[in-house]
């Protein structure tokens, strides 16, 4: 029934290593049968054993209380079994050995060996995860922080069920790696993902957190909310530094240098560009002392993506978007706006009551001019005094551009369109602001938005 090892070696099957364990098992059966290494009866025998084992797992899953279960649950259990067995067969490193094992050993034995491997991999993944948590980057990027937190990757370890759902990844992973982990599932995926993330952390850890922060600010001032890969940005910048013969650790390249680089690189075709970037990568590895190791290999593995980005940017004349110049956000002139002290509540109520009974808009305006002394009171009044559109516009006319910018910062009308739940008064005020800006001259609006960008975020 089973072939000898010599016969198996003669018909070597090549199965890619990066195949998921579940797919590996299926491919092994299919290829083994196609190559004549497994006979129809031996395939049937393996399937029947799988079925018997599934029945056993189903009984265990139901704790003997129910003889039937949903087809989806049974399929998931079967996938889990196949995954576990595939993990062991793949670990043999040779498809010939794997087929020989399939034909000689019984399915529960293969499963048991796979299950032990899962336990080992789980422990290894846990160790890498703890290392990542210890050496995590100090960054404002939300997805990075959320993914390495206990609610992200940390969720995997308490919720993973190796006995029934070995092929599932029970964790919330939003942070995208520079070299994404494709094809793998279950504990294999987590282990590889964590290993890659640890390498990315190790690389970024060689640069100062401040340099990375400035670099990412140069990429986009709102980078904390973006789904970006930090390692890719840092490596790209390091390559740029190397190309212009600057210190790699500075991650600093000026816009003028990017322009010069653009003129130089645009003459190179894709193979020449690849060569230049590969040489720059070697210099980066030398300077960071990472050549030859796992980290060096990871850097080399990441280069094709970067070459494509650079090549595309050269075609579009947007190299400055790939080779980013760092930006210190605190160096930008900033305006600190103080809303002033609010008047006493009693006085404010009296003012509102009087405004409500006031008949003529001119009187209201006069009243506001005389009584209101702070921006904070004026802001409250716009929502409390039931003013008509024209009256609101007249009040806004009293304000300077900075005050208007401060109002927009506190009541960002653009967010109205995002379906955010807001009180009716707030929605009305935002609507007024939008209408008011629409009727202003374009130059003034531009000026107001420039001021808006310079306004410092309020604390608390």
């Amino acid at each position: 029934m089973s072939k000898t090892m010599a016969a198996i070696e003669k018909h070597q099957i090549s199965i890619p290593d990066d195949l998921s364990s579940e797919a590996y098992f299926m491919t092994l059966l299919q290829e083994g049968y196609a190559q004549g290494l497994l006979t129809a009866s031996s395939v049937e025998q393996i399937q029947l054993q799988c079925l018997e084992f599934l029945a056993y797992k189903c009984r265990k899953y139901n704790r003997g209380e129910s003889s039937s279960l949903r087809v989806e649950t049974a399929e998931s259990l079967m996938k889990s079994n196949v995954y576990t067995m595939g993990l062991y067969l793949k670990s043999l490193g040779d498809s010939g050995k794997a087929i020989s094992e399939l034909t000689t050993a019984r399915i529960p034995e293969i499963y048991q060996k796979g299950r032990e491997l899962i336990t080992d991999k789980l422990a290894a993944a846990q160790a890498v995860y703890e290392q990542i948590q210890r050496n995590s980057l100090s960054t404002l990027n939300y997805t990075y922080n959320a993914t390495i937190s206990g609610e992200g990757l940390g969720q995997f370890f308490p919720t993973y069920q190796p006995d029934y759902e070995a092929h599932e990844v029970t964790a919330s992973i939003d942070y995208q790696l520079c070299n994404p982990v494709d094809h793998l599932t279950g504990v294999e995926f987590i282990h590889r993902y964590l290993e890659n993330l640890a390498l990315e952390n190790e690389f970024c850890g060689r640069f100062s957190a401040k340099a990375i922060h400035f670099l990412l600010c140069g990429y986009d001032s709102g980078y904390k909310d973006l789904l970006i890969n930090i390692f890719e940005q840092v490596l790209t910048s390091a390559l740029a530094c190397s190309l212009v013969k600057r210190r790699v650790l500075s991650l600093s390249i000026s816009e003028e240098e990017v322009e010069v680089l653009s003129k130089e690189l645009i003459q190179a075709d894709l193979p020449a560009l690849t060569l230049k970037i590969s040489k720059a990568a070697e210099l980066v590895q030398e300077e960071l002392n990472i050549a030859g190791g796992a980290l060096g290999q990871y850097v080399v593995q990441s280069l094709p993506n970067i070459v494509v980005n650079v090549s595309q940017a050269l075609k579009l004349n947007t190299l400055a978007k790939v080779f980013v110049s760092p930006l210190d956000p605190d160096a930008k002139p900033q305006i600190a706006f103080a809303a002033g002290v609010k008047m006493d509540d009693k006085e404010y109520r009296k003012l509102i009551d009087e405004l409500l009974i006031c008949r003529y808009p001119a009187d209201k305006l006069q009243f506001i001019r005389e009584q209101v002394r702070s921006f904070a009171d004026l802001e409250d009044l716009l929502t409390d005094a039931w003013l008509e559109t024209e009256e609101v516009f007249q009040v806004l006319d009293l304000l300077g551009d900075v005050e208007i910018a401060a109002l927009i910062k506190r009541h960002p009308y653009q967010e109205n369109q995002q379906g955010v739940y807001l009180p009716a008064a707030e929605q009305t005020l935002r609507g007024y602001l939008q209408d008011y800006l629409e009727q202003l001259a374009a130059d003034r609006v531009k000026g107001i938005f420039q001021l808006l960008n310079q306004l410092r975020d309020e604390e608390g």
Binding site: L48, C50, L51, C58, E65, S68, L69, R70, E75
Partner: protein
């Protein structure tokens, strides 16, 4: 892969199930109830259809034996309706296994079927499925106790009482 394997095994599972049903004849014969080989095959076929229809899979003999053992001494089952009743009960069982979200074990569900069948339903399979098991399933889904029963008649009485009280208060006010 999973489904392919399941197809392979169907004939084996069915053969085993027929044998197990025929074995039950020894027990049920004391109540004058037996199934022929053909009837056993048909019953297993019904089970297979019910499983397919309800998206479930079962290994081994399944629950038919247990249903026979629990129902064969029912006063509402005779040799005239034995086979049909068993078929209906098997279909009902798998349907309500899904509807009760697998929260009950096989034995618990069969017990819940047997008690009202021999009691309030007086052998009516329609009442058993449409009222008792329906109520059981909705109770489990909404987090009530399995036996919880909301009597519409009581609600109506309560409403009437509330109306009377309100009227009295209104009259008192005048």
């Amino acid at each position: 892969m999973a489904l392919e394997i399941m197809h392979l095994s169907t004939s084996l599972i069915q053969k085993q199930a027929v044998m197990e049903i025929e074995k039950c004849n020894e027990f049920s014969a004391q109540f004058g109830l037996t199934l022929s080989h053909a009837q056993a095959i048909e019953l297993v076929e019904t089970r297979a259809q019910a499983l397919r229809g309800n998206g479930r899979i079962e290994f081994g003999g399944g629950v038919i034996q247990r249903i026979i053992r629990e129902f064969c001494h029912s006063p509402y089952i005779s040799s005239y309706n034995y086979e049909e009743t068993l078929q209906e009960l098997v279909e009902m069982f798998y349907y309500y296994k899904n509807e009760t979200l697998d929260l009950l074990s096989d034995d618990e569900l069969i017990q819940f079927m047997r008690t009202p069948f021999n009691g309030v339903c007086q052998g009516s399979l329609e009442l058993l499925a449409g009222r008792e098991l329906y109520n059981l399933a909705s109770n489990l889904r909404f987090g009530y106790a399995p036996n919880y029963w909301e009597d519409p008649a009581e609600d109506e009485e309560e409403d009437e009482d509330e109306e009377d009280n309100a009227d009295e208060q209104n009259h008192g006010g005048y």
